[in-house]
């Protein structure tokens, strides 16, 4: 750094920056904008600490369209269930001399019989407590069911769920078989064939969760897993190994987290938090690229003049005649839905106005005494542009940079909203797109449809406020009359 700036220059620069900050911090609207921006930057930087859920994998953490968790302060929602995820501890219900059972979270049973042939039944029992008076909309059990080492024996198994009011429902069944196998079982209450197997003629009209979690919903729900072993007649030795792993009871909540859940039951808050990253990056990058091009074109065009100027300004004229958003959509469609391209394309349309402003500024700067002095002392064009003209247009460029960020953010949001955003990154526009296309309106899921839009508005306002303030400071004509 020392070689780039002499000591004097550094002091001058520091003094200028300090003076600018002095004025900026006394500008109320600019300060509000800065605070807002800092809040969003904090959100973007600390996203992983603010929310435990990954918005890209979007795990299912609640019921579809689950309401925000704090809605329970209203009496009509106060007893809505929250998400329950239970890994139950199994106990032995029906034991048998022929079966050795290791119960617990993981269950291992080994069946061994010699000489006799009688059907042996064992059962495992577990229970969980459901504390809410409002039933869940669905529930699921998932587990690994592993039968191996079958020798001369067949088996069948069933699972029952018993509600506090005593009704018992068979939620799973494996018919008699003598084939060893290992299954990953997922029992979903909304499963058509499960409901059909319970004897309902029109399973689509039935919500099994509402039927089971009926009055009284609160209390102890018992799960019973029955297995029966039937050795072959006349067999000398019959044995089998059965194990039950990773049993998970999942009851998606109807209220969840800070901002509820979207249609697929994934967390809205985490999507919102992570969305700030992409919006800020896209907005800043597009504005940065656009401003750089604008400065370059304005500088070159204004200082060199002649044919270069004519060519560049006609190019600007032509580009200004291109319809922005439709062309942006087409370009994204042509080059692929990729964040990088989106930034480039937004920037490509963002520099036109600035280049004209800078050019007119340079045209007047060109006639000033210090530039003429530089020319007279034999400075090259590039030197004059870099050392004399550029520092004088930095203030305008700075205001323009800040003021063109919202344009970039809004353009990206529009693209994503229309479904032309990068499908791999979580953005606010994409959230709005999903909310619009997946029933947030029909379900009146305001906690899903409104926050992304509010976030976009606030981020844009932060930049607009700051831009206004900077404009007021660097542009003496706009200075407030006191």
């Amino acid at each position: 750094m020392a070689s780039l700036f002499s000591e004097e220059k550094r002091i001058v620069l520091l003094r200028r920056i300090r003076g600018f900050w002095e004025e900026f911090s006394h500008n109320r609207i600019g300060f509000v904008g800065l605070l807002l921006l800092l809040a969003f930057i904090g959100m973007a930087v600390f996203a992983p600490w603010l929310t435990p859920y990954d918005p890209i994998a979007a795990p299912r953490v609640a019921d579809g369209f689950a309401m925000p968790g704090w809605m329970t302060i209203f009496p009509q929602y106060s007893d809505h269930p929250r998400t329950m995820e239970i890994f139950p501890y199994w106990e032995v219900g029906n034991a048998s001399d022929f079966v050795e059972i290791h119960a617990g979270k993981e269950v291992e049973c080994s069946f061994y019989m010699t000489g006799e042939t009688e059907t042996v039944e064992i059962s495992l029992i577990t229970a969980f407590n459901y504390p809410y008076s409002v039933p869940p909309n669905r529930f699921s059990f998932s587990f690994e069911w592993d039968v191996s080492n079958l020798t001369n024996v067949g088996y069948s198994s069933k699972m029952f769920l018993t509600a506090p009011n005593g009704t018992s429902t068979r939620v799973w069944r494996e018919a008699y078989t003598d084939v060893a196998r290992s299954l990953s079982v997922l029992v979903e209450s909304s499963d058509y064939w499960l409901v059909k197997s319970l004897g309902y003629s029109d399973p689509k009209a039935i919500n099994l969760a509402h039927l089971i979690f009926a009055d009284p919903t609160q209390g102890e729900y018992r799960l019973k897993l029955q297995a029966s072993f039937r050795p072959e007649v006349g067999a000398q030795i019959a044995e089998a190994e059965v194990s039950l792993h990773a049993f998970r009871i999942f009851i998606p909540g109807r209220v969840h987290g800070i901002l509820g859940a979207d249609f697929a039951g994934s967390d809205v808050f985490s999507q919102l938090i992570y969305g700030s990253r992409i919006s800020l990056i896209i907005g800043l990058m597009a504005a940065g690229i656009a401003t750089s091009i604008g400065i370059l074109v304005g500088l070159v065009s204004g200082y060199l003049g002649g044919a270069v100027d004519e060519t560049l300004m006609r190019l600007v004229d032509i580009l200004l005649c291109l319809p922005g958003l439709p062309l942006l959509l087409t370009l994204v469609k042509l080059f692929g839905k990729n964040v990088f391209f989106v930034v480039i394309f937004i920037a490509l349309f963002g520099w036109l106005g600035l280049s004209r402003t800078i050019r007119s500024q340079v045209l007047s700067l060109r006639e000033t005494a210090f530039v003429e002095c530089a020319i007279a002392s034999g400075a090259s064009r590039a030197y004059i542009m870099m050392k004399h003209l550029l520092p004088n247009i930095v203030p305008i460029a700075l205001a323009s940079l800040v003021l063109s960020v919202p344009g970039g953010i809004l353009a990206e949001a529009s693209l994503s909203f229309l479904g032309f955003g990068d499908p791999r990154v979580p953005t606010w526009g994409k959230m709005l797109n999903y909310a619009f296309g997946h029933g947030a309106f029909e379900e009146f899921a305001w906690w899903w449809a409104l926050p992304p839009g509010i976030a976009i508005t606030l981020v844009c306002l932060a930049f607009v406020f700051m831009g206004f303030a900077i404009d007021e400071i660097v542009n003496p004509r706009l200075r407030r009359r006191r």
């Binding site: 319809p323 922005g324 439709p326 042509l334 919202p406 909203f417 508005t457 981020v459």
Partner: protein, 330 residues
């Protein structure tokens, strides 16, 4: 004057030609999507696919296609849609009026409301009205139009329906199904469907106008001739409308013409949200289905519109502001 006009027209045509060529390059040279994919059946043979391509004119050499394309664009025929397989011009002829209806209503409403609020605020600098105009102006800069429209939809169509069982404004389309045969009822029905998209566009956009007009008014009200007029004893009312407002008409009219293209292209999203059968929603649908004769046609129309508006703005400025007669340029 005539010379200048001729020059402007020639430049406009050159730009139009460049836009058309760009259009061609993008769609016929670089386009990656297969337009036959929509119609194609897995059981089609190679010959059948070739026949389809020939029907679409996609097997011709590039220069033949280019000549055909330019002829199509400048004779306003635009070729045949791959999707509906009807001439693009035919569908355009009923879609374009729909877009014009929606945008005409919205633009006129926005301008009138924006100018009214702006003049009112500008003439009372520092008052509550002024703060309001500043507020809505800044808000309009930050809020995405489609978000305003989503809020409208959410409340006027869905929430009211949830609570009371009817919709204040319909959420979708331009007419009810089945459409009434009675012309008066039909028009009322269209107006009812039009209200929400138009209103939401106005609410989202009028702030920017108000802010702009307010700043112009403040500028104009601090000019010397206003002080002179006031000293002569001109009434405040006459002062405001005859002296101050009059003088800001040229910049306002220019900015109106210059902002029309932005309004039209931006309203694409409005049409998409309310499934308004205009050219914007058509464009998005065509993009998604690789139907590029339609995309080309709409993009071309947009370009024509932008060029036309720039041209009119130039002329208008000269007509309204006698100081800048177009004949003597700078």
């Amino acid at each position: 004057m005539r010379e200048y006009l001729a020059k402007r027209i020639i430049i406009a045509f050159i730009v139009l030609f460049i836009v058309a060529s760009l259009n061609f390059t993008m769609f016929q040279v670089m386009w990656a999507g297969d337009p036959t994919a929509l119609i194609l059946d897995p059981e089609f043979t190679y010959e059948q696919r070739q026949m389809l391509l020939r029907q679409f004119g996609l097997l011709d050499p590039l220069h033949v296609r280019y000549i055909k394309y330019v002829r199509n664009m400048f004779t306003w025929t635009f070729g045949v849609s791959f999707q509906s397989r009807t001439p693009v011009a035919q569908e355009l002829s009923w879609r374009l009026p729909n877009t014009i209806l929606l945008l005409g209503t919205a633009t006129i409403g926005t301008i009138i409301l924006g100018i009214a609020v702006g003049v009112f605020a500008g003439s009372r600098r520092g008052s509550t009205a002024d703060v309001f105009a500043l507020g809505v102006g800044l808000f309009a800069d930050g809020v995405p139009t489609f978000f305003v429209q989503m809020i409208f939809l959410l409340f006027f169509s869905y929430l009211v329906f949830l609570w009371f069982g009817f919709q204040i404004f319909p959420a979708r389309h331009m007419v009810s199904t089945p459409a009434s045969t009675n012309p008066i009822i039909y028009m009322a029905d269209v107006a009812w469907h039009l209200a929400q998209p138009a209103l939401s566009l106005i609410v989202a956009a009028f702030g920017g106008w108000a802010l702009y007009v307010r700043n112009l008014m403040i500028d104009s009200l601090t000019q010397d001739y206003i002080v002179t007029a006031r000293a002569k004893g001109v009434s405040e009312r006459t002062l405001l409308y005859r002296h101050a407002f009059r003088s800001i008409l040229p910049p306002i009219s220019t900015i109106i013409t210059l902002s029309i293209p932005g309004i039209v292209t931006g309203a694409m999203i409005t049409e998409y949200i309310f499934t308004w059968p205009g050219i914007g929603s058509w464009y998005i649908a065509a993009l998604n289905s690789n139907d590029y004769p339609v995309v080309q046609a709409v993009l071309f129309i947009y370009a024509v519109l932008v060029i036309l508006c720039n041209f009119i703005a130039d002329l208008l400025y000269g007509v309204l502001d006698p100081r800048i007669r177009v004949g003597v340029r700078r």
